[in-house]
Amino acid sequence: MAKYSIGAIASVSLLMLLAITVMLFANALPFFGEYSLADFLFGNRWHPTQEPPNFGLLPLLWGSLIVTVVAMLFALPLGISSALFLHGVAPTKLREILKPIIELLGSVPSVVYGLFGLTLLAPFFQRLLSLPVGQTAFVAGVALALMSLPIVVSVAEDALDSVPKEYGSASLALGATRWETLMRVVFPSARSGIWAAVLLALGRTIGETMTVLMVAGGAAQIAFTPFKPVRTMTAAIAAEMGETPQGTLHFHALFGVGVVLFLLTFIINLIANKYATKSFK
């Protein structure tokens, strides 16, 4: 039966997801055999090469968090405002040109943002804010904001676009201005789709590797300011995996970090998809 053979092929994605899960957990397991889960989750030092080594996740988690927060602080207001502009202010012609261009920019590879951040943004902000180092969480956040803007703009604009036109007509017919209609009716009606955009961008930002690897400076420390170098979970994996002999505790610890990353983005995306499907049929 065609249905079953095609169904079998269709299950490949599912099998791959399963394989990813199994591989991550299986390779992380030896680590948790030797290192306590509590020390991993709540340890505040990541010193994998010291004797004895410390595999505290908190500095990496902190790094991911602070970079993401900075990125979102820039990307969300700018991105959502731009989506509102495209949807409610820009003439149709302009929107039809800008929308695909923005989608297109979403495909610029992250290593390019890394290069840009490292060679231009970092020196620029170092001089501007007279910082001792250029590569900081802040600059990484700015580079990531730039990178996630296209997603925020295009998903948010899609959400605004899916709001039935009748709502707008009703508002205008009551004597509302276009601004009032946009902000009081269309924007709130697109809420769930906009949340989906926010969460998608959030997931992407937390999971982004190359940009932070190149720009964030790489120091695994908990600093309560964005103007210090940090090391994110993704950067730790990318930077340390190649230098770690297989089978060592450190090697497996990095898979442990991978598991955390996996679970974190999995949850964010689950919620994002809930929101995305909740918008108008």
């Binding site: 007509s169 009551l174 004597g175 009716v185």
Partner: protein
């Protein structure tokens, strides 16, 4: 009889809508052709005519909702209380407050029942606080919806039935105290019971609002409207008191429409 209802510039009376040699084109498509029509005040006028003849377009011309369509061009005047709504001085936001509109398909906002009715009051800053709530309640009561939703004003309007939603939309339009109400096939998406409730509603408009209703339902027009107009290919071909128009149409096409030959 028609003349008696008229109002002139400078008079105290409000709610007068009059088209004077009004034309409208979508690009090259001439849709409204030289329409001159004075709607009697504070009564109900039905507009009928075959699909595509321009009824909705004419409606949108009255409260200038056509402004949003870039290809639209107009010529002639539509006078509201003696002032041309297309003049440069016209304040379209105020105009649209004074001319309420109800659409074919119920289109409440996806927010609470209260916020729906309060929307117009808020944007026009007509009331706030407890006065706002009083006026919302008043509007909901005036469409006889209070018994059904009075205990759940915070509920989302999308949870209401189609008929309830349409009455909510009427309440939303009435809340800002318009003088004219335009209803474009307000019952065509509703079941007979809900339609009947809306018709009852319309009866209460007489003496309060200048009401204009587009309908494809000849019987409905006969039931609710004191005046009737027939539109055909963008022209008003017949207009007068409903009884006269129905029993003694001036135009042969009207007669054929009424007897169900086309439309």
């Amino acid at each position: 009889m028609v003349e008696k209802e008229c109002c002139c510039v400078g008079s105290e009376e409000t709610g007068c809508v009059e088209a004077v040699q009004f034309n409208l084109c979508y690009g090259d498509n001439h849709v409204i052709k030289n329409v001159s029509l004075k709607f009697p005040r504070e009564t109900i006028t039905a507009i009928m005519g075959p699909s595509g003849c321009g009824k909705s377009t004419f409606f949108r011309a009255i409260n200038r909702m056509n402004d949003l369509i870039p290809s639209v061009k107009t010529q002639g005047e539509i006078l509201f209380d003696g002032e041309n709504v297309y003049s440069n001085k016209a304040d379209i936001y105020k105009l649209r407050r004074r001319i309420g509109m109800v659409f074919q398909r119920p289109n409440p906002f996806p927010m609470s029942i209260l916020d729906n009715v309060a929307y117009g009051l808020r944007i026009h800053r007509l009331a706030k606080g407890s006065e706002l709530e009083d006026r919302v309640v008043e509007a909901i009561k005036s469409v006889n919806l209070w018994d059904e939703v009075g205990d759940r004003l915070k509920a989302n309007a999308m949870e209401l039935s189609g008929g309830q939603q349409q009455r909510l939309c009427i309440a939303r339009a009435l809340a800002v105290e318009p003088e004219v109400i335009l209803l474009d096939e307000p019952t065509s998406a509703l079941d007979p019971v809900s339609s009947a409730k809306i018709e009852e509603q319309l009866a209460e408009f007489i003496g309060k609002y200048t009401t204009i209703i587009v309908t494809h339902n000849v019987a409905q027009a006969a039931r609710v409207a004191q005046y009737s107009a027939f539109m055909m290919l963008g022209k008003i071909i017949d207009f007068g008191p409903t009884k006269e128009v129905f029993t003694n149409p001036k135009n042969e096409l009207t007669e054929r429409y009424l007897s169900g030959k086309f439309g």
